[in-house]
Every structure is written in structure tokens, then in C-alpha cells.
């Protein structure tokens, strides 16, 4: 291993020679810490792939990815994951329908309208919202939002996609709003001043100058929030039900990929059976979906960022 210090810092080579073991030992130790994260990723990928292979020995990938019936826990068994994916996208879709307009509007308010004092008061409150444990949101969805919604839709069942999706939307508002706000704050003052100079109103500046200039950050924020919603577990496990079903009706009970994993984890599924391996196949699909979205949002920011 070569000793290198980043360019900006002069390399203190002479001193190191006096005490090479200590310095080198510490550097090795720190490198080992940094490698933990690499091994975590390798661990996740190897673990998911190996265990999922246990599943794909009994079920073909094509049946898994294209089947429309998911009944692994009772006879006759079907291993089509689409109902779980459908349930996941339904709740995440509802969540983003809530979080996108509200989060974006609050980002515009915080970056374009609010005075410094208001911003300093509001931002910590939004952070508290982001720090509430998801099981608490699940409780809220089931015991508060669902009864409320059932007054409006009397036909709705207790466990439903709508209530879970709405609460999940509230959960990801802070994410959409703070990431979009960062992007908008990065738009230079001169652009705004130019627009004001032409007689634009505050709204016109916000929607026609600032938002277009910050669009890469806003899109990335939305994709990250959607990926978070897809991976969210406890709200849907508590409030959305456990009926794998391909439906677009948000008033019905559904099951998401994450809540299926929870359902199996809670039961007494014996280790080594196909039923047990299903959670790793579903987990692998979940991991790939969220990873692709995260990578896409990083690429999107790099590709479409406006530089000033």
C-alpha cells in the first residue's frame, strides 16, 4: 500500500518515517472501516442472489416476473410477483400524488416567499416529521385516517391502499420539499432579479424562472422520494392489508413487496423451503428496483444540472 495524501495537503513524509508503524497501522485501520461499506454491498448482493437462486431452482424467472397470481403460502401455489409489484406501485403512486404537489409548493414557499425567521422555524418541524418512526405513521393511518376515509367511502374496507398511500405521502413530503428547496436555493439571485426587473410577479419568477432552472434537482428529489415510498414497509404492513391483488382500486386491500416479507418473517415458515426463499426473491426485486431509481436520479442530476 502506498502512502498518499491528497494533493492539497503536503505529505509529511519525514515524520512518518520516524514512526511508520503507528501511522501506517492507523491508516490501515481507517481503510478497513471504509471497506465495511463495500463489504455490506457485496454482502447484500451475494446474499440476495444466492438465496433467490434457491427460489429460482423451483420456479422459473419468467413465471415469477410475469405471473399474475401470488399464493405461495397456500395451495395451489402460484408464484407470480405482479400482484405484489402492483400493490407497491399503487401505494407509492398515491404517496407521490400527495407528496409531489405539497412538497413542491412548500419548497417554493420556503425558498421564494418565506422570510429567514419563518424558514428557520418551519424547517426543524419538517425534520421532526421526517424523523417520526414509520410504525407510528402506520398506527396513524389505521386508527385515524382509515376511519376518517370510511366516512367518505362507506364501502371501503379497514385495510386499504388509499389510507396507507396518503400517510406515506405525508411521510415523504419533507424529502421532496427539502431536496427541491436545496435545488431552488442554488439558482442564482441574478436570474430572479432579472425577471423582477422585467416586471414579473413573485409567482411568475418562481414558476417560470426558478423551477425550470432547478428542474434536475426537483426531478431527482421526486425519484428518490418514490424509491423511498417503494421501500417503505411498516405503514403498508399495518394499514394496507395482506391480500396480493392486481388492482387500481385504492379502496381495496392489497399487499406490497415489503409487507409480504414482513408477513413471512412473522410466521413460522421453515428455513430452506420454497416459501422461505420467496422473501429473498421479492427482496432482490425490491433492491434492484430501488437501486435503479437511485442510480437514475444521480445520473439525471449530473446530466441535466444547469451550471452557473
Amino acid at each position: 500500500m502506498t502512502m498518499k495524501v491528497r494533493e492539497s495537503i503536503p505529505s509529511p513524509r519525514r515524520v512518518r518515517r520516524q514512526n511508520p508503524l503507528g501511522e501506517r497501522g492507523i491508516q490501515g485501520l481507517l481503510l478497513a472501516c471504509a471497506l465495511v461499506s463495500i463489504f455490506t454491498t457485496i454482502g447484500i448482493v451475494v446474499m440476495l442472489v444466492v438465496q433467490a437462486l434457491g427460489f429460482f431452482r423451483s420456479v422459473s424467472i419468467i413465471e415469477f416476473l410475469s405471473g399474475t397470481k401470488w399464493t405461495p403460502l397456500f395451495q395451489p401455489q402460484h408464484f407470480g410477483v405482479l400482484p405484489l409489484v402492483g400493490g407497491t406501485l399503487l401505494t407509492a403512486g398515491i404517496a407521490i400524488l400527495v407528496a409531489l404537489p405539497v412538497g413542491l409548493a412548500s419548497a417554493i414557499y420556503l425558498s421564494e416567499y418565506a422570510r429567514d425567521r419563518v424558514r428557520r422555524a418551519v424547517k426543524p418541524l419538517l425534520e421532526i416529521l421526517a424523523g417520526i418512526p414509520t410504525v407510528v405513521y402506520g398506527f396513524f393511518a389505521l386508527t385515524f385516517v382509515t376511519p376518517l376515509l370510511r366516512n367518505i367511502f362507506p364501502s371501503m374496507i379497514v385495510f386499504n391502499a388509499l389510507s396507507a398511500g396518503l400517510v406515506m405521502g405525508v411521510m415523504i413530503i419533507p424529502m421532496v420539499s427539502s431536496l427541491s428547496e436545496d435545488a431552488m436555493m442554488a439558482v442564482p439571485r441574478s436570474l430572479r432579479d432579472a425577471a423582477y426587473g422585467l416586471g414579473a410577479t413573485r409567482l411568475e419568477v418562481a414558476t417560470r424562472v426558478v423551477m425550470p432552472a432547478a428542474v434536475s434537482g426537483i426531478v431527482a428529489a421526486c425519484i428518490l422520494a418514490l424509491s423511498r415510498a417503494i421501500g417503505e414497509t411498516m405503514i403498508v404492513a399495518i394499514a394496507a392489508g395482506s391480500t396480493p391483488k392486481l388492482t387500481l382500486n385504492p379502496l381495496e386491500s392489497i399487499q406490497t413487496m415489503t409487507s409480504y416479507i414482513i408477513q413471512v418473517s412473522l410466521g413460522e415458515t421453515p428455513h430452506g423451503t420454497v416459501e422461505y426463499y420467496t422473501i429473498f426473491a421479492v427482496g432482490l426485486l425490491l433492491f434492484v428496483m430501488t437501486l435503479l431509481m437511485n442510480l437514475f436520479s444521480q445520473w439525471f442530476v449530473r446530466r441535466y444540472r444547469e451550471r452557473y
Binding site: K4, R6, I9, P10, P12, R16, N19, E23, Q27, L30, A32, C33, A34, V36, S37, I38, T40, T41, I44, M47, L48, Q51, G103, A105, S106, Y109, Y113, A114, V122, L125, L126, L129, G131, I132, P133, T134, V135, V136, G138, F139, L142, T143, F144, I173, S177, R202, E204, G231, T233, M234, A237, T258, I262, S265, H271, G283, L286, F287, T290, L295
Partner: protein, 292 residues
């Protein structure tokens, strides 16, 4: 121009539209805060009547009147302390390596990208990793240790990112001054960088860990068991944590268990709140000391 009625009409509509949208934006901002208030009031209303000393000092029970959070509370404290012991040194070490030691090469970029991506991995996937790696492959069983190691892996990326930000905020001039005096890289880190970055590192790490402590999903994958009538006495004992206990109570149809869940949520929120308060107090204390 000013007297052109069409222009004035248009100006009025534009200003009106601007004003109404500003109200709309303000309302959107308040939505989150409103929901937060409603949520807290809902939890307090449902749970405060059930929260008493008996609730804190009892084990879970089939009878709601006798049930409590003792085993879950201690399980959470166990996991919290062990996670802090594992994740703080590794997380801060990684941050120091990336910020102070690593040459700007492919390895450093790989580690950095990798950490950013790990921060976006759903928590349930960490649960699956813990289940197959710690519980089964390393044969730790459904123990406190397996739970804490899983929590460690999950909270590491966030801790690293927070620690990096704190380390980056130390002025470069301080480092260069120490190097000019002949300090080694580690001496600079130990005596210059760490003391002034510590408040930020601690605050960020504790906040990251408080997020992890509230997570139920990975812990359910590790410790499916929910009825525990003992407090873990060693790191190899089985355990349950507050979020699992709350989830268990929420999933029961009887209304009394809903109240127990709310009372459990209050306990969990108090634990998280005291962690956050600790972070703030630590930050204030150290900040004053470094300013002296």
C-alpha cells in the same frame, strides 16, 4: 401605456393570481405541520391514559390491563447502546479515511458512490441481510448482537455522510498550519480535525441512530418473536424492541391494544426525543469548549 385598460386588467389578474398562489404555497407548507400536530394529538389522546408506572415495568401480556413494555424498552436500549458502540467508530473512521487520507482515486470514488447508494437501500433489505448473514451464516441466532449488527450496517451510511460533512467544515488552514509544524497525518486528525468536528459528528451520528432505532422492519426480520417475558442479560439473548411491540399491538383488532400501541408510541417517542436532546446538549457543550 399605464392607461391601457387591457394591460391594467391583465396586471390585476396576474397580481391576483400571485396572491392566491402565495396563500396556496403557505397552506402546503403548513400541511405537514398540521398533520404532525394531529398525529401527536391522536397518539396522546389514545395512549396517555394507559401510560403509567405499571405499563413501563410490566412484560407484554394477553390481558391489556396487565401488559407493558419492559422487555421491549430494555431490548431497544440494548440495541441502541451496541449499535452506537459498533457504528460510531466504524462510521467516523470511514469518514476520516475518505476526507483526510484517501487519495482522490477510483477507490475513493467507488466507496463514496457505494455509501450514497447504501443510504437508499430499503430497511427491510438490511433485515434480510441480517437474517441470512448474522442470524444464520454466522449462527448468532435471533440475538441482541445480530439485531445490533444489522442496525449498525443500516445506520452506517447516514452516519458516514453526516460525519463527512462535519469534517469538511473544519477550515483547511488549521490542517495546513499543523502540517507546517511537522505533524503527521494522524496527529492532524487527532488534535486538529476531530476536536473541532466532534460536535457535528456526534449530532449527526446520534440523529442517524435515532432514525434507525425507530425502524421496525429489519428488526422484525431478525427477531420474529414478540412475546418475551425477560430482559436480555447478554448479547446472545433473544430480544424484542419497542417498534416490534407497537406493531404487534397495532395489528390486534381489540381497541384496548390500540391504546397500548399508542402508549408504547409515547414511550418510543420519549426515547427518541431524549436521544435528540442528548445530541443537542453534546453539541452545545463541545461547541462552547472549542470556542474558548
Amino acid at each position: 401605456m399605464k392607461k391601457d385598460p387591457a394591460f391594467r386588467q391583465q396586471l390585476r389578474t396576474r397580481q391576483l393570481r400571485g396572491r392566491s398562489f402565495s396563500v396556496l404555497f403557505l397552506m402546503a407548507t403548513l400541511t405537514g405541520i398540521l398533520v404532525l400536530t394531529v398525529l401527536l394529538v391522536d397518539v396522546l389522546r389514545d395512549g396517555i391514559g394507559w401510560l403509567d408506572w405499571q405499563f413501563i415495568t410490566s412484560y407484554p401480556s394477553r390481558k391489556p390491563d396487565e401488559a407493558g413494555v419492559l422487555s421491549a424498552l430494555f431490548g431497544t436500549l440494548w440495541v441502541m447502546v451496541l449499535t452506537a458502540l459498533f457504528s460510531l467508530p466504524v462510521g467516523v473512521g470511514t469518514a476520516i479515511y475518505l476526507e483526510e487520507y484517501a487519495p482522490d482515486n477510483r477507490l475513493r470514488r467507488l466507496i463514496q458512490t457505494n455509501i450514497n447508494n447504501l443510504a437508499g437501500v430499503p430497511s427491510i433489505v438490511y433485515g434480510l441481510l441480517g437474517l441470512s448473514l448474522f442470524v444464520q451464516a454466522l449462527a448468532l441466532g435471533r440475538s441482541v448482537l445480530a439485531g445490533a449488527l444489522t442496525m449498525t450496517l443500516m445506520s452506517l451510511p447516514v452516519i458516514i455522510i453526516a460525519a463527512q460533512e462535519a469534517i469538511r467544515s473544519v477550515p483547511q488552514a488549521h490542517r495546513l498550519g499543523a502540517y507546517a509544524l511537522g505533524a503527521t497525518c494522524w496527529q492532524v486528525v487527532r488534535h486538529i480535525v476531530l476536536p473541532s468536528a466532534l460536535p457535528g459528528v456526534l449530532t449527526g451520528s446520534i440523529l442517524a441512530m435515532s432514525r434507525a432505532i425507530g425502524e421496525a422492519a429489519p428488526m422484525i426480520a431478525i427477531s420474529a418473536l414478540v412475546y418475551l417475558t425477560f430482559i436480555p442479560t447478554s448479547i446472545m439473548d433473544r430480544f424484542t424492541v419497542l417498534p416490534i411491540q407497537i406493531f404487534n399491538w397495532v395489528s390486534r383488532p381489540q381497541a384496548e391494544f390500540g391504546n397500548l400501541a399508542a402508549a408504547g408510541i409515547i414511550v418510543l417517542l420519549v426515547v427518541l426525543l431524549s436521544m435528540n436532546a442528548t445530541a443537542i446538549i453534546l453539541r452545545n457543550r463541545y461547541q462552547r469548549r472549542t470556542e474558548e
